[in-house]
């Protein structure tokens, strides 16, 4: 097990190195300069600016410099804000996004699984149709529509939750629900389909023949066997939720990383683009590793080398 994980971590580092290199050159192809008011700068001023940020060097030299600093853990300084370190920007804006994404995935997955299990157990009844209805809504209606509706009804009209901003736990409730609709719908559909299949299998009949109650059959016997595909789908979703949603962050006035990322691309803020891309990539490879390890936890048949006694 330890050997497997070490091996995976080495691959992860290689993957991240390749992603960093690729992104660096791609980024340089984007037309424009990082200096927003470039047209108002004189030739000399531009040259001075370029020299200051090392942009007058040939691209391969810039690349080598960047990678050297990266190895040392230095992500550079943002072009947008004077002398603010990229690490600092990321740490500040990733916090709210990660918290929201995490809450949304937990909330969405738990309710999605419950909904899916109920739908499978009560197949072709109003419970099933109701669950399908919620899942279709969650998948087809964009999150900003939910966000707007909830802000209006739950926030403004009923006054139950704060409408926007990022000032405490109660401020996270509405954006969490808005973000959770998609994973909830996804989990509900996958769990329902898998559960229906699992509930027909021989070992479920045997569990019934043992006198197990429907609760034990659903949650002790069937659910675990139905979870594998759900984990496969939800893993990558965790990353996309935790790396922030521009729309949700805009609507709720949350200082998150989704907005930061988009802005940095618009203004060619090279160090921030690189920093956020690398963060997303790192999260992604870590989540994939966790998903692979989870398979083994859920299903002993796919337990990895070293797990077997």
């Amino acid at each position: 097990m330890a050997k497997y994980v070490t091996q995976r971590i080495i691959y992860m580092i290689i993957t991240l190195f390749l992603i960093a290199s690729f992104t660096f050159f791609l980024m340089k192809i984007i037309p424009g300069t990082p200096f927003t008011k470039a047209d108002k700068l004189s030739e000399t001023q531009l040259a001075i600016m370029k020299e200051k940020y090392g942009l007058d060097d040939p691209v391969p030299v810039q690349y080598a410099n960047y990678m050297m600093n990266l190895v040392k853990g230095d992500l550079g300084v943002s072009f947008q804000f004077d002398n603010v370190g990229v690490t600092e920007i990321i740490v500040k804006s990733f916090g709210p996004s990660a918290q929201l994404g995490f809450q949304a995935i937990i909330f969405g997955t738990i309710f999605g699984i419950i909904l899916g299990v109920l739908a499978a157990l009560k197949q072709n009844t109003w419970v099933d149709y109701g669950s399908t209805f919620i899942a279709v809504l969650g998948k087809s209606i964009p999150s900003f529509v939910f966000a707007g509706l909830m802000q209006y009804y739950l926030g403004v009209k009923l006054g139950w939750f704060p409408v926007a901003f990022w000032r405490g736990p109660e401020y996270t409730i509405l954006p969490t629900i808005a973000l959770a609709m998609f994973p909830l719908a996804t989990a509900a559909r996958f769990v329902r389909t898998e559960m229906i299949e699992v509930l027909e299998s021989d070992y479920i009949v045997l569990a019934k023949a043992k006198g197990a109650s429907w609760f034990d059959i659903a949650f002790k016997h069937a659910l675990r066997n139905a979870l594998i595909p759900v984990v496969t789908v939800l893993g990558p979703l965790v990353v996309s939720l935790m790396t922030g949603s521009l729309v949700i962050e805009k609507i709720f006035g949350i200082p998150g990383i989704g907005e930061q990322f988009v802005k940095s691309i618009q203004v060619n803020d090279y160090p921030v683009i690189m920093g956020t891309t690398l963060l997303f990539a790192a999260l992604f490879v870590v989540v994939i590793l966790i998903v692979d390890l989870l398979y083994g936890v859920i299903d002993p048949r796919i337990r990895l080398a070293g797990g077997k006694k």
């Binding site: 070992y203 569990a207 019934k208 023949a209 006198g211 197990a212 675990r224 002993p300």
Partner: protein, 347 residues
């Protein structure tokens, strides 16, 4: 002998898109205490449906017990709620299934699968249940039960898994054990081991067994009595000797003729011609009549009742009617009878 289970005039239908399939059309049988009753018949004859109906394991959505009773200790199981059945399943009546490769939960340790019914029905603590489970694993012939207890099904071979399934079924010392083709998915040497094990265990825990199979060789090995099913009905029932050596129903004759013997040489094995009846439109008369070369006119018009051959032996064929012409059973059947009688005299 004391009856432990009585099935009376059981009718079961499945509702399908093309109509009502009358899978079971009036089945009657008794199970005596401590005996093994084999139910034999070809695929679709209704043997599995009958056993699943006893356990309430038929799919709720499309199956229906139209009429009849399943009497167990004075209770009619056919009318029990699912909740009440949960208390009987696994405790008083348990079941062994056909395919050991798929009947154990792949993501649950074998030990937990065994202690589950023990904890539920006998209300034992986890520790006590574990002790009992290890005893049973030992009893069904699994070496190193303490180690095996902590393992998952994929770490067991097919034969070993069937032993685990048997251990689960016997965990609460059931009064009735229903074995639905328990050896069909196993290879022949393992089959023999499992049959020996079941026979030995039956003596030890004094349970009655309903043994469902299409393998007559297995029947001869394990059963005390045999019920032959055809087209959703029992067509002949008797002790093993009666059914094997003095069969009365032409379908039983066909079954026995199609069984190879030690002196079967190059000749082609006998097969009953035709196909099983379509139970979507069950025939008016004897369901076997279209495949029966001894069929009479009445076979096509009226279903035969059970005629008594002896106190333990009954068969549903018009050939047993006093006015029916005398018909000699096929040569293979007569040969068996002669051999059997010869053996008996030899004693």
């Amino acid at each position: 002998m004391e009856k432990i289970l009585e099935v009376k005039d059981l009718h079961i239908s499945f509702h399908t898109f093309s109509g009502e399939v009358q899978a079971i059309r009036g089945v009657n049988f008794d199970l005596h205490k401590g005996e093994t009753l084999a139910i034999v018949g070809e695929s679709g004859s209704g043997k599995s449906v009958t056993s699943k109906a006893i356990m309430h394991l038929l799919p709720e959505s499309n199956s229906e017990i139209k009429q009849g009773q399943i009497l167990f200790e004075g209770k009619d199981l056919a009318k029990l709620s699912d909740k009440a059945m949960q208390k009987i399943r696994g405790k008083d009546i348990s079941m062994i299934f056909q395919d050991p490769m798929t009947s154990l939960n792949p993501t649950m340790k074998v030990g937990r699968q065994i202690i589950e019914p023990i904890m539920k029905h006998q209300k034992l603590s986890k520790g006590a249940a574990k002790k009992r489970a290890i005893e049973i694993l030992d009893l069904v012939g699994i070496p190193n039960p303490e180690v095996r207890f902590e393992q998952y099904p994929h770490q067991f071979s097919g034969g070993m898994r069937q032993r685990v399934v048997i251990a689960i079924a016997l965990a609460c010392n059931p009064k009735v054990l229903i074995a639905d083709e328990p050896t069909t998915a196993l290879d022949v040497t393992i089959q023999a081991q499992i049959l020996e094990l079941m026979k030995a265990l039956q003596k030890k825990i004094d349970t009655s067994i309903i043994f469902i199979t299409h393998d007559l060789g297995v029947v001869a090995n394990v059963a005390d009595r045999v019920a032959v099913m055809y087209g959703g009905k029992i067509v002949e029932v008797g002790t093993v000797d009666e059914v094997f050596y003095n069969p009365q129903h032409p379908y039983t004759w066909g079954l026995i003729s199609s069984m190879p013997t030690l002196d079967t040489e190059d000749e082609e094995l006998y097969a009953i011609p035709g196909t099983p009846p379509d139970l979507l439109h069950p025939p008016k008369g004897d369901a076997f009549a279209p495949r029966n070369r001894y069929a009479m006119k009445i076979d096509l018009e009226k279903q035969p009742p059970m005629f008594k051959v002896s106190d333990t032996h009954y068969a549903a064929t018009w050939l047993l009617h006093p006015e029916a012409p005398k018909v000699e059973p096929p040569e293979a059947v007569q040969k068996r009878k002669r051999q059997f009688l010869g053996l008996k005299e030899g004693n």
